[in-house]
Structure formats: structure tokens, C-alpha cells
């Protein structure tokens, strides 16, 4: 993985000093809160419902065991002994103080980490495929481009105060695991017929209040020209993105208002003037960065069949081990290796994506022992050990079980994506975590979950949709009505190559109705599905009507009961 050179390290150290001074000025009153706010946000520091929250960048989700140990110890020393892995592949701490923040950043800087641009109206932490470099279906390893763009975007002066936040995702695999089309800019890396690295650019995607899938605005852009093209793109957005209305300030609104064609034309017009400038990347820079993303020292191993791997377990364990292999272990580019997803969604967990200090320390050891000391954070809020020898999967499984991160629920109904919601977030209209917990408790039977197969269920506590509810097969959105917490259900959302925005099925529900509603929706699927048909495929075949009818079945009963109650 990438290793800081003295330039990166100097920049991060100096950034800590800058922020330390800004905090000191805030504390002595010479910097007003209103003016400090964008400064702290650009350093990942939010003021939440109960305390400050610090969001730490994990560029493109990649980190090492030493960094995880530092994250664990920060959780212990400055927070309440846990951290929360987010849908943007970052980690955040919910209970830090303003006074401690410069020291936390200094500790992060020691392990080549920072919190730069994890929030604020600037280019956010770049996300990518959690399986970059190892995925069987990858045609371009996106990591060198991710890193080059991380550097290009870090403290970019022209784009420090954009109309709104700006999110990049970068993909280089056949299957999109980045929700590319739900980003302000999605960069799809490819090779042209001459074997040269090129990029297709999608712009104007995003979730939130107005979910829109991005539009293809540029094809075949040589990788070297990414900085000039993206400068042109961001310059058009910076100049013409709406600033009069917070809710209409994202680039998706500009692209929609102009039309993707007109937006592309304006970017192209701007690009003409700088496409040949030295803002662009050079081969020397590629070489400098790409050397950090060479393959680790893989052994020359024979590829094991599924059965051979299963047979490494004792007979008594084989059924449950096979389940874990099926759900949590992914194919690898290199024979004899596999990638393992550690589930941060144990049933009845406090919050999807949370890991305690003890878990983080233990997982860091597992990374050292089984995966060349490297880890990845997924946007589904799980962790990945990307390079595990197949012959050691059983041993790793047993260790992971001890840490309660071996639940074989990856991609299943209880692998819930959820934002921290109203328990923590001051933006939230409703709680997310108790809903996630109630659903996990309702669907606790692993056999049943296995039978249901792939279903994504995403929960957001507000319209900002940090829980990505729009792209969940089942989406739950917390809404506020007259000061009460309600939940709206969307169906038919999907991430991946067939990305789709879910449709709202109708009036919202009380929190305590949600487990029944989900049960009714799931039962509808079970009753209608063809053999081996996934939830989303069944939904697309039969449409929303039967699901909707089932979802409101109990609501009607309840209404009747209330009427009856009134009458008595």
C-alpha cells in the first residue's frame, strides 16, 4: 500500500499545526464559531448531538495493521473505546473533544493518516473498490489513480469552498462495487485497444434529497489528463453551481438543469485551455506512486477447490464453515488465495460498522498473520482481509469467531448499512440504529437468511442518506412529522452495474411497525419467487404492487384496531 514520502508527511504534519492554531483561536474567542465551522469540517470535525465527532480519512478504504492499532488506541484514549466504519470507507469517533482534536490528528499523522477533507464543501475522501488489486473481475487496479487524485485534491486551493460537498468514486472492475453512479464524479478506468489506461467520466450522480444517477459525460480520457479535465469540471461547478439554496447546490442539480450534454460541452470548453498544461500527471509520478501497489509476496500455491477448503475443517464444523466461505469469502486473482470479509454486523449489534478497541487490535493482528498486514474498509461498513491463503481460511475463521466478526451474513438481509442516525447525528430526523437492531433480531435465523439470499437493506436517519437507503433493495428512511419519528420504505434500489434508485411505496410507518413491514415484504418475495430468483429480480418481475399491499396489511389492521378502540 501507499507509503508517505517526506512531502506527504510534511504536508500532514503542517496541516496538524495549522489546525492546532485554528483550534487555539477558536478557544480564545478570536475565531467565531460560524467562521471556524467550515475550517473544522474540512478537518473532519463535526459538532454532533452530544459531542464532537471526528471523521478520519481512509483513502480509498485501504489501511494497514499499524494504522488500525492507532485507530484502536485513539478510540480508547480519546473516545469511548470504539470507532465507527462509515459508508464512505472512513472511520469516525463519536465522543471526542475540541481540545483533544489536534493531539488526535498528531497521533494519526504518526501513522500516515489524517482527517483532511472528510467533510466540508470540498473534494471529499476518494472511495474505490474495497477489493482493488485482488478482485477476480478487475481489469485495471484503480489504486495508483486513487492515490494520484488523493494528492491532487488534498488542500486544492481553488476548490476549498465549493457550493457543496464533492464526492469521487473510482472503479476498475467489471462489477461496480463503488456505487459509481451515485457520486458527483464517477471515474471508470479501462484499457483501450492499445492497452493504454483511459477513463470514462460520469458526473452529476448522488443520493440525498434528490437522488439521481450520474451521466456519462466523457469517454476515453487518457489517465494523464485527469487533473486538467477534473479542474475544468470542478471550475464549471464552482462558478455555476447554485449557492442560493443548500438543497440545490450539488453538482447533480447543475448537470440536470443544464442537461448532461450542455454540462459536458461547458467542461470541454473550459478544458481546451488547460488540457496540455503541466497540471497533468506524468509517467514519473505514476511510477513513483504505482510502485507501492505492486503485488505482495504471494507464495506459489495450488488453487484449492471449495470442497478442499471445506475439508480443512472438522466434520462437526463443516456446515457452518461452508456457510462462512459462501458468504464472507471472495475469489482472488492469485491461485491459492482468497479475500475475506469480516462482518461488523453481528446480530443485535449496537451499530453496523462499529468496532471496539479490542476488536480493532485483534483484527490488526489477524491482518499481520493472514493478509500481509493490510486491510480495507468497505462502503457496506465491513472490513476486508484481501490476501488470505485458502489453506488458512479455517484457522482465520476460528480467530474471527472469537472477535465476533465471523457472522456469515455478508450480502444478506442483516448485513444492514445504517448511518448513526438520531442517536448521534444532529442532522438526523429519526433513529437508525434501533431499527437496524430490531430487524436483525427479527431475522436472526441464519438458515432462513441463507435461503433468502442476496438482499440489501439500507437505513438512513435523514434525507442526506448517509445510509444509502436509495440504493438498498429495501430502503428505510427516517422522516420527521410533527416532531415524531416516522419511517418511509423504498423498494427496488440497487447498487452495482444495474444501479437503481428505489421507489417510495407510500405513507410512512411508526418505528415499531418496521419489523412487521419488512417481514411482510420478505414473505411476499418468498411467496412469489421463482427458483433461484433474487429479491431484486423478483421485484423487477412482479412490480411494487404485491409488496406494497403486504407492507400496509398490518398498518390497516392497526388503524382498524384503533378505530375499534376509539369506539369502545
Amino acid at each position: 500500500m501507499y507509503k508517505y514520502d517526506h512531502i506527504d508527511q510534511t504536508l500532514v504534519d503542517q496541516r496538524v499545526a495549522q489546525f492546532r492554531d485554528q483550534v487555539a483561536r477558536r478557544l480564545d474567542g478570536s475565531l467565531a464559531e460560524e467562521e471556524f465551522r467550515p475550517l473544522r469540517l474540512q478537518n473532519g470535525l463535526y459538532h454532533q448531538r452530544h459531542a464532537y465527532m471526528l471523521r478520519v480519512a481512509i483513502p480509498y478504504g485501504l489501511f494497514n495493521s499499524n494504522q488500525l492499532r492507532a485507530m484502536a488506541l485513539i478510540a480508547k484514549k480519546y473516545d469511548r473505546g470504539y470507532g465507527h466504519f462509515t459508508t464512505r470507507q472512513n472511520i469516525q469517533y463519536n465522543w471526542v473533544t475540541l481540545e483533544d482534536t489536534p493531539d488526535i490528528l498528531a497521533e494519526l499523522a504518526k501513522v500516515e493518516m489524517h482527517a483532511i477533507q472528510t467533510s466540508g464543501n470540498c473534494i471529499r475522501n476518494i472511495t474505490s473498490d474495497a477489493f482493488a488489486g485482488v478482485a477476480g473481475d478487475e481489469y485495471v487496479d484503480p489504486r495508483p489513480i486513487c492515490e494520484l487524485l488523493r494528492q491532487w485534491s488534498t488542500l486544492h486551493p481553488e476548490f476549498a469552498h465549493l457550493p457543496r460537498k464533492f464526492k469521487f468514486a473510482i472503479n476498475g472492475a467489471k462489477e461496480d462495487r463503488t456505487i459509481l453512479l451515485c457520486h458527483d464524479v464517477g471515474i471508470e478506468l479501462k484499457k483501450n485497444t492499445n492497452g493504454e489506461l483511459i477513463a470514462d467520466i460520469y458526473a452529476g450522480g448522488g443520493m440525498g434529497r434528490t437522488p439521481i444517477l450520474g451521466s456519462l459525460i466523457k469517454t476515453g480520457l487518457p489517465w494523464q489528463l485527469l487533473p486538467s479535465y477534473l479542474t475544468a469540471l470542478l471550475r464549471v461547478y464552482n462558478r455555476f453551481g447554485r449557492r442560493d439554496n443548500l438543497y440545490k447546490a450539488r453538482i447533480k442539480i447543475l448537470v440536470k438543469a443544464l442537461s448532461p450534454e450542455e454540462f459536458a460541452r461547458q467542461v470541454e470548453g473550459e478544458w481546451l485551455f488547460n488540457k496540455d498544461s503541466d497540471v497533468n500527471f506524468t509517467q514519473a509520478e505514476w511510477d513513483r506512486v504505482a510502485k507501492h501497489f505492486t503485488k505482495p509476496a504471494y507464495l506459489s500455491l495450488a488453487k484449492l477447490s471449495d470442497q478442499q477448503v471445506i475439508n480443512t475443517a472438522s466434520e462437526a464444523e463443516r456446515a457452518s464453515f461452508a456457510r462462512w466461505l459462501e458468504r464472507n469469502v471472495k475469489p482472488h486473482q492469485v491461485p491459492g488465495y482468497a479475500s475475506v470479509i469480516l462482518s461488523l454486523k453481528p446480530h443485535g449489534s449496537v451499530a453496523p460498522g462499529d468496532a471496539t478497541t479490542a476488536q480493532m487490535l485483534a483484527i490488526a493482528d489477524l491482518a499481520d498473520q493472514y493478509s500481509f498486514g493490510e486491510l480495507r474498509a468497505t462502503h457496506e461498513q465491513n472490513l476486508v482481509l484481501a490476501d488470505v491463503e485458502q489453506s488458512k481460511l479455517h484457522e482465520l475463521w476460528q480467530e474471527a469467531k472469537k472477535q465476533k466478526v465471523a457472522l456469515p451474513n455478508i450480502g444478506l438481509l442483516t448485513d444492514i448499512i445504517a448511518c448513526p442516525g438520531g442517536d448521534f447525528c444532529s442532522l438526523a430526523n429519526a433513529k437508525s440504529l434501533p431499527i437496524a437492531k430490531a430487524i436483525q433480531e427479527r431475522f436472526d435465523d441464519l438458515d432462513y437468511l441463507f435461503d433468502l439470499g442476496d438482499i440489501s437493506l439500507n437505513i438512513s436517519g435523514c434525507i442526506n442518506s448517509c445510509g444509502h437507503h436509495h440504493v438498498g433493495n429495501i430502503g428505510v428512511l427516517g422522516v420527521d412529522k410533527d416532531g415524531e419519528e416516522w419511517y418511509q420504505i423504498t423498494l427496488g434500489g440497487e447498487q452495482g452495474n444495474d444501479a437503481a434508485i428505489g421507489k417510495v411505496i407510500g405513507p410512512s410507518f411508526y418505528a415499531d411497525e418496521i419489523p412487521d413491514v419488512i417481514t411482510n415484504v420478505i414473505n411476499t418475495y418468498v411467496n412469489h419467487r421463482n427458483e433461484d430468483e433474487s429479491f431484486i429480480d423478483a421485484y423487477r418481475r412482479i412490480g411494487v404492487a404485491p409488496f406494497k399491499e403486504a407492507a400496509y396489511k398490518n398498518a390497516k389492521k392497526k388503524e382498524k384496531a384503533e378505530i375499534a378502540g376509539d369506539a369502545s
Binding site: T10, L11, L155, P157, R239, V279, A284, E285, R288
Partner: protein, 197 residues
């Protein structure tokens, strides 16, 4: 053009001092010689240049309407009139006017209606990159200490700080970083210089 914006920016503070940070030079404070006129008293034309101020920055929108007047031309040629761009001025749409103005303006400025509105960063970048303007570009309006570094890198070389800002803290801002990871008006990214070593 930004008539609407002009009426919103009637309060552009008077400045005793300007923070200059010339390209290749050191930051320093100097007396301000320029009145920033918001164009709101259009009926009377240019404001009366009293109170020790000899020179006036006029809104670009006002310039576009009045620049052909002989009085304005002669005052500009004598070095007494410059223009400032509002955040929503689309300067690329007025390229010809700006190319002409380049020959006579002693100074141009870009306005920050509020510190977190970054449009004028792009204006400054365009003035430097596209128009190859080599004269002074001044940041005016809601200019705070913590924008100075970004402003200096996109192309500003003078700053009319909001009057409540502390100039001693401001002067130190430009030394905070010794490296950068993207090109700017002032210098190339640090990675390139390192690569050539």
C-alpha cells in the same frame, strides 16, 4: 452580469491597510490607496475621492456600462480606476472587455460576498491562467485569515482583510506549508520538484 449582487454588497469596508504578498516576495502590510466603490450611488457617478484616497475600484458591471466615457477613460489611464468582479460575474463572457481593460487597469479585485463562497477563487485562477493578467489581483469583501493561503495560491497577491482580522496572525499564514500537491499560480507541486532531484 451582477446588478442584483451589487445592491447586496453595499457594505464594503474601508481599509487602512492592505496585505500584499507579491509572487516570489514576502508578505507585508502597506497603506491602502484604493476606495472600493459598490456602484450603489450610480446616479451621482463615481464617488468623490476625498479622505486621502486617490483611486477607486469600480464594479465590473458598472465599468461595462461606463468605460467609454471620456472622463472614465482618462482617470483609468492616469491610474485612478480599477475594477472589481462580483462573485457571480461570468468573466469569460466578457473576455473582450477584459482584454481591453488589461491594457489600462492598474489593479483588479474579486469579491467574496461571504468567506465560504469560493467562486472568486476560480475568478482569480481564470484571470491568471486564461487572461494572463500579470498585475495585482486583490481579494475584497469577507476576506478572513484562513482564506489567505488558498487565495495566494490561486492568484491573489493582495488582500483587503475584513477589518476585524488580526494582521499579525494573517502575516504568518503564508509560512504554514512548505509543500503542495497540486500546481498553483505561485509554484509547481512539490512532487515534481522532488522528481527532478
Amino acid at each position: 452580469m451582477s446588478q442584483a449582487n451589487l445592491s447586496n454588497s453595499t457594505e464594503i469596508a474601508a481599509h487602512d491597510q492592505i496585505l500584499h504578498f507579491p509572487k516570489g516576495g514576502k508578505p507585508n502590510l502597506a497603506p491602502n490607496e484604493w476606495l472600493i466603490w459598490n456602484g450603489s450611488q450610480d446616479e451621482g457617478g463615481l464617488p468623490d475621492l476625498e479622505h486621502g484616497k486617490q483611486n477607486v475600484l469600480v464594479p465590473f458591471a458598472w465599468w461595462a456600462q461606463h468605460y467609454q466615457e471620456s472622463d472614465i477613460q482618462s482617470k483609468t489611464k492616469a491610474g485612478h480606476i480599477g475594477v472589481w468582479f462580483a462573485a457571480d460575474d461570468d468573466i469569460l463572457k466578457h473576455a473582450e472587455l477584459i482584454e481591453e481593460g488589461k491594457k489600462i487597469w492598474p489593479l483588479v479585485a474579486a469579491h467574496f460576498p461571504i468567506f465560504r463562497d469560493g467562486r472568486s477563487f476560480s475568478t482569480a485562477a481564470l484571470l491568471r491562467d486564461r487572461f494572463q493578467w500579470t498585475g495585482e489581483v486583490r481579494a475584497i469583501g469577507d476576506v478572513l485569515i484562513d482564506q489567505l493561503l488558498q487565495g495566494a495560491r490561486v492568484g491573489f497577491d493582495s488582500f483587503a482583510l475584513r477589518p476585524d482580522q488580526k494582521t499579525d496572525v494573517a502575516l504568518k499564514q503564508f509560512d504554514l506549508f512548505s509543500v503542495t500537491t497540486q500546481n498553483s499560480w505561485r509554484d509547481k507541486r512539490a512532487t515534481l520538484s522532488k522528481l527532478s532531484v
